[in-house]
Amino acid sequence: MFDDFFTRALIGGIGVALVAGPLGCFIIWRRLAYFGDTLSHSALLGVALALLLELNITFAVFVVSVIVSLLLVILQRRASLSSDALLGLLAHSALAVGLVVLAFMTWVRVDLMGFLFGDILSITTFDLTLIWGGGLFVLAVLARIWRPLFAATVSYELATAEGIKPDQANVIFMVLMAAVIAVSLKIVGVLLITALLIIPAAAARRFASSPEQMAVTAIVVGVVSVWLGLNGSLEFDTPAGPSIVVAALLCFVLSLIPIKVPYLRK
């Protein structure tokens, strides 16, 4: 069954949607959309380093993302610049350095478009193992830190005061983000990863009355978007990554239509 490139793409995409849903919820709750963007932009630097040092691309992207998020934490404590300025600085310098490094390596012929917009149809069985293995691991860790992470999301001070250690959960969350960006690079590409994280979660908001409900709904929306997007891409011969994001956008627009949902009080 994994011989078919389309089936592989579908299974890989669903694997990513599974992790992107819950993490995307936290990104929305914590107003971290631009942080996701920063990490994904710096992913291209990871790609360049992987080609230069002949490393596994997913691994290199993961390491670079972790380094960038740690840099951000350090800069936020030291520098007198605001967070959004720091994020912009990190995002675009990492992207630019990545592009420059790629240009220096004249011996490497890189399909830049593939990294910018994803190349879901070239997913190998090894990629699938990585996506599902990594994805399930991320979900397991997230389930473990869910309570402290959520408490810290609602109020950092409250969580600290009542003996929950939010710093630990925050750092683990950053590492999980880096992992998700690394595994989803191939599916949607550098420029659209944040969309896959945010749009399903945003579409889920209106149908949720508890955080857990929102996370599960975001997963469902993500899976539906992947299925719709890939089939649409096959049908209309459009690029797969952007098609998935367009499908997610359609779900979001549908969620805005004011219909009465019986099980919701408000």
Binding site: I28, W29, R31, F150, A151, T153, V154, S155, E157, L158, A159, T160, A161, E162, G163, I164, R205, A208, S209, S210, P211, Q213, M214, R265, K266
Partner: protein, 286 residues
Amino acid sequence: MLVSLENAGIFRSNKWLVRGVSMGVEPGEIVTLIGPNGSGKSTTAKLALGVLATDEGTASRKEKLRASYVPQKLKLSPTLPLSVARFLCLTNKADRHQITAALRATETDHLAAEQMVNLSGGEFQRVLLARAILCSPEFLVLDEPVQGVDFNGELALYKLIEDIRNRLDCGILLISHDLHVVMSTTDRVICLNGHVCCSGTPANVASSAEFKSLFGERAASGLAFYEHRHDHEHRPDGSIETRDSAPDGRRGPEGGVSPPPASQKISSANPANPNRNNQDKVNQDV
């Protein structure tokens, strides 16, 4: 001693927010911080809780202290789908029974399924208090816990706070601007203005020169409150409950409001003898 600060200070943006603060809270004790805006009351509370680290001096807490916190400000993002009941178990595991009991104590049990973002200011404040008392804390920090709560609710909540202290024997650190209430329910008052100006029993503090210079002569001499009676009560859901079985025909001409009863009086708060036997129905089951 549950919590103690020794000569604690905190330095931010080139100035000392508070400095040289020494204080402690014992089990079963209500300690109140008073002081003008910007005098470091909230900062001192955060030092006591360990939310902020001291830059000078020490802050020590009992090992494995079960602390609860009602912060002065808590802004919830509207993107958070969070019901009142779920908010109550944010940092604690609690069963349905405990949640209902805590909400009932602050007269908010009808809001359990409501989303937090839809609450009014006063309701939000009551829910914050319900959350703080949910898992019988040893140490409770209340930073202006009754802001935005209506007048009747305010007195009831202060009584509830006293009742919690009596029942759980927990130490309470209270920050409040309601000087008259503070003076009648507190065991110890600490008057803060960047440092500890004066501290002691409410009676001593109220008569001290520092207190008068900080709050003015009027505040010190006018620590009395106006007491009056109602012949009916408003339930949280808006319905009315008559208390004195007064016939409806005897309502005042304005419709519903009765004339002030004869028993109204001006009583001076007696700080040395806090009124601990409250019969308010709010306190019956927590």
